[in-house]
Symmetry: C2
DNA sequence: CTGCTTGCAAAGGCTTTGCAGAACA
DNA sequence: TGTTCTGCAAAGCCTTTGCAAGCAG
């Protein structure tokens, strides 16, 4: 999925390149948000992103966080993960991978299972192509 | 996932049995909601469920629809599908199956792919078990 | 009776929007 | 100087909650 091979954490220069690669003009706010996102592979809500950017000493409005994350998602910079109905999570890891969601703790972790790539959809109608595959394994304590 | 082998549409008597099977006392409202859900395999939002039940000539409040769908989900009568960030969908088909989501049209369809059942999670921590597997293929026009 | 259910209205909480000012090319 | 972007505040919208009345066992 991700042909960019991001090596976390991303330096500021790399962040700017990344944004430009996706045809996003690198404004101060977008750079600061992206820098925070790509410190490491992580799953973050809009609120957490706002908090994180703010704690890093930068000032970005809530509306801009929402606008920016919508933009990043559309452009493919990050991936939306819908698991918790309470809020959307943004995944800074866009490599092909799946998720393990612990229903007891709410913890969301990445897993890599090459078998998933081999899945072929039976009877995929003509003229359609798969643009993304979301796989979430919900796990609980035994 | 579903060992009940529901044959759509479900008759009123079967609906009552179904609810009892899940230890849900069959109140008028719950029966009417379940009857609407199990007319056919479908993916419905709370609003659509309220509309449908109302149009069928029954009277149920919005709050009861939400309460009931929460109950049905917890008991395993239906499955929540989180795809659209706008709202939650409830799936009246609880057989093991996957979803095809057309990002252009918003259409959500069921697919059956036995290969998915074979997926084994690498490094699943001890003491955890998989309780559910959500697979969504996002497709678009070529 | 006693506890479970329902329904209304209000509150809650995440997200979007309108619009004026700022930044940018 | 025209376009894009930001930020504030308000609005929007889905969902939950408090609470009184109704219903079931």
């Amino acid at each position: 999925m991700n042909s960019l091979n991001i090596s976390f954490p991303l330096e500021r220069n790399d962040v700017v390149s990344l944004l430009q690669h996706f045809n996003i003009s690198p404004t101060r706010q977008r750079i600061e948000i992206a820098e925070f996102l790509f410190q490491r592979p992580q799953h973050l809500s809009a609120e957490k992103i706002l908090d994180g950017v703010t704690e890093a000493g930068n000032r970005v409005s809530r509306a801009t966080v929402y606008n920016t994350m919508g933009l990043f998602t559309n452009k493919g910079v990050v991936r939306e993960v819908l698991i918790d109905r309470e809020r959307v999570f943004y995944d800074s890891n866009t490599d092909a991978h799946q998720h393990l969601y612990n229903v007891d703790t709410g913890e969301l972790t990445d897993i890599y299972d090459t078998e998933v790539d081999k899945i072929v959809i039976p009877n995929l109608p003509e003229g359609l192509k798969v643009v993304d595959t979301d796989v979430v394994f919900k796990v609980a304590s035994e």
